[in-house]
Symmetry: C2
Subunit: 452 residues, 2 copies
């Protein structure tokens, strides 16, 4: 099936990964797993249930739903000549799951999904062709209480990772549309204005006005759009003004009412008022948003957008032929991991092992006994597999792996019922009775973690 | 890029997954995650480091290495016309990683890798086209102590999952070859005899002899092979006899010596002698094994093979053009999950939520306060997103989701500083002061878990 020429067989010896793809070596994986475990715990504490779906789906299932991202899909014909694709997000598979398992799932369905997705993007710094998404969505509730809970879980997840200083910018897709209409943009164009406004942060006001004009909007209307979306103030005050200004604009009242409900719920859920702001210029790129949209920005350290969210009442029901309300968030996991690494927000280590136990050919059993004792206390123990090497060489190996502590038991120690416990960071070694080895190791490990 | 006809657009509405692929709904995911967390913890306690690699690799990297499995590879040309494939195992990627990152990795390298792989198998009961592998390998040690540690971590992992009654059958690929030579099989055929012996359990002795004959081996040699591999007894005794019987057969002494070392180490590592046995007929299907091979069989409940392992000194060095010794194991995760479900070896639940908090339109803040208190105590709380529904309907929803406990705080309860704590399994409801809610909920949850 996989035929090879001699030339490609020779090339087969070249070990390489595709551009945009990455290996995660232990030091990185330890951190990735830790961050994912934290996020998972926050999601579950908020009552979100885990879900997983196949990496490969029928092309028809993945097609015609998620706009731009869909164009980047990896797709091919499988061995049975079926047209298939790799998932490029976790939202379209959720829509399929809700439709396929409607008799098994209880709505509202709060689910989270942490898994890799694939997009054939142009590889560039911080952008990958394989990356993990980390989504939490609530399917089946039209209430703004669902949206408020999405904001709340987003803030808790980012805080737990060590990014407590997050601001959530909030807007409403239909409010943006209404503002465009109020500015004099014709209905047909008002719907798509968000795509251009979305570039405001990146290209600035003048360029946005120019692009609005290029899309066929009059110069005066384009300028008015920019003025209107630039309005700032306390959410209640701004909404109060908008309610009057936009009277008679189709959809405007509903959007303003929903935002008012949302801000009310955020207050009642106890989300501090300084953590969120109404930003009438916030657009969020995705086609499928239909209601409130959110973006989480980290101010300290200043790293920009780390998560997005919004209501999308149209997508989930695609397969069912009816509207299923939904609101959800996606953490920018790869960006977050980068930030956590860059600013050392979580302790990092290059090995899972707490303790290294060297192997003496004449005292394998004694080393094994100590290993079992230490593991029984929950410690991660790397027992040497190099009995043929000298103890010095074995300890050097442990040092290179950055294992913090070694417990050394040769034949003499075994007979005397003692262990040598060595701090591999300082080189200090102490002897203790075998039944005190766990305490001795734990106290050395505690010393590192507190940094003393 | 993804063009659709009207016909395929209509089909797009049919939500379905490809044969051999599966959704994992929350009830299944909770169990899967639990099992994977247990295995992960055992691997780390044994000092194995986490690794992850891309799902997609250059076809050349994946080709020409792993025999039969490779034929089942999903492969295609990507958007840049590069020939790529989906990984079909975790061992070939490990070989690539060791070659590519030889300057960053400290050998011996103990790594584990838990991730999905894809094989275009004929779908059948218990066999999937997407399934998780769960591997732990030691790269860079020729010592039988590495093999013994692989057996030890295999036994600990299976025990921790609730499969304590495991037997490890042990053989040596080169011993099998030597036995074939001793039986009179010509050298050229002796190397491949394991492929036929591998079918012994499935097709029986007579059919194996017939197949050996069909492969060009004489009837008398075929029968002798079967006799020789059928020899049983205590490892030391069998090895003692073999050492004499196989004298002069190339490779035999080395194989016997290695097995003797291995059994010695297993004893010294404290692995109970009734957990393993020498089985001269054990072959293990994979081409690349070069030394000891292992298979874990669960006797109680009687579920057969759940994990395999072995030494493969040739594969890891493929990219480096030199031999890199390696020994490792693979847990049959999908089979194990099936067994855990079938025999209820671990507690199962259909929701992560411990507590449901209904929403009262006039007491959202009071519900949120209780929710925060409960989450602060580490509990998983599903806060309702249906303020528009009656409390009765909301509680019915929680009951369908099988959330065990509800905490109900309406406006009256909020004012009185109390909560109604309801056991949703029994329907019994009690009122308690707000500051006792955590204790009250914990005591109800404890009641379930102990089954009273």
């Amino acid at each position: 099936m996989v035929e090879q020429t001699n030339a490609s067989r020779a090339k087969a010896r070249k070990p390489q990964v595709l551009k945009g793809f990455r290996d995660h070596l232990p030091g990185q994986m330890i951190l990735r797993q830790r961050i994912m475990a934290i996020v998972r715990e926050v999601f579950e504490r908020h009552g979100f249930e885990p879900l997983d779906t196949p990496a490969i789906e029928y092309l028809e299932v993945l097609s015609g739903k998620a706009g731009e991202n869909e164009k980047l899909m990896y797709h091919f014909a499988d061995q049975g000549e079926r047209e298939v694709g790799l998932r490029y997000d976790l939202t379209v598979p959720l829509a399929r799951v809700v439709a396929m398992h409607q008799n098994d799932l209880v709505l509202p369905f709060k689910r989270y999904h942490m898994a890799p997705v694939w997009r054939s993007e142009k590889p560039q710094r911080g952008r990958f062709r394989e990356f993990w998404q980390c989504d939490a969505d609530i399917v089946g509730s039209p209430s703004m209480l669902a949206d408020a809970q999405v904001v709340s879980v987003m803030i808790d997840a980012l805080g737990a990772i060590g990014l407590p200083s997050v601001t959530i910018r909030i807007n409403h897709r239909k409010l943006l549309e209404s503002l465009a209409r109020a500015a004099g943009v014709p209905d047909a164009q008002a719907v798509g204005v968000y795509r251009i406004i979305d570039k405001l942060d990146k290209i600035g006001g003048a360029a946005v006005v120019a692009e609005l004009e290029r899309s066929g909007i009059s110069a005066s209307a384009a300028k008015r759009v920019l003025d209107l979306v630039g309005r700032t103030g306390k959410p209640d005050d701004v909404l109060h003004v908008l309610r009057e200004d936009l009277e008679g604009i189709p959809g405007a009242t509903e959007a303003v009412d929903q935002l008012a409900d949302l801000f009310g719920y955020l207050h009642e859920l106890g989300v501090p008022a300084d953590r969120y702001a109404l930003d009438l210029a916030l657009a969020r790129g995705l086609d499928y948003y239909t209601g409130p949209v959110f973006e989480a920005t980290v101010e300290e350290p200043k790293v920009g957008s780390v998560a997005g969210a919004g209501r999308y009442d149209g997508l989930i029901g695609t397969f069912l032929g009816r509207t299923v309300p939904a609101s959800g968030m996606s953490l920018g996991l790869e960006r977050i991991i980068e930030v956590v690494e860059q600013f050392s927000l979580l302790p990092s280590r290059s090995s899972v092992a707490d303790v290294f136990v060297p192997a003496f050919p004449d005292a394998i059993a004694a080393g094994a006994t100590i290993t079992t004792i230490l593991r029984g206390a929950g410690l991660h123990v790397d027992q040497s597999v190099q009995p043929q090497r000298s103890v010095g060489e074995q300890l050097k190996y442990a040092g290179r792996k950055e294992v913090p502590v070694a417990v050394i038991v040769g034949a003499a120690e075994a007979e005397a019922g003692v262990c040598n416990v060595k701090d591999l960071r300082t080189g200090v070694q102490e002897t203790c009775p075998r039944d005190q080895v766990v305490d001795q190791v734990l106290s050395l490990l505690a010393r590192t973690e507190s940094g003393t």
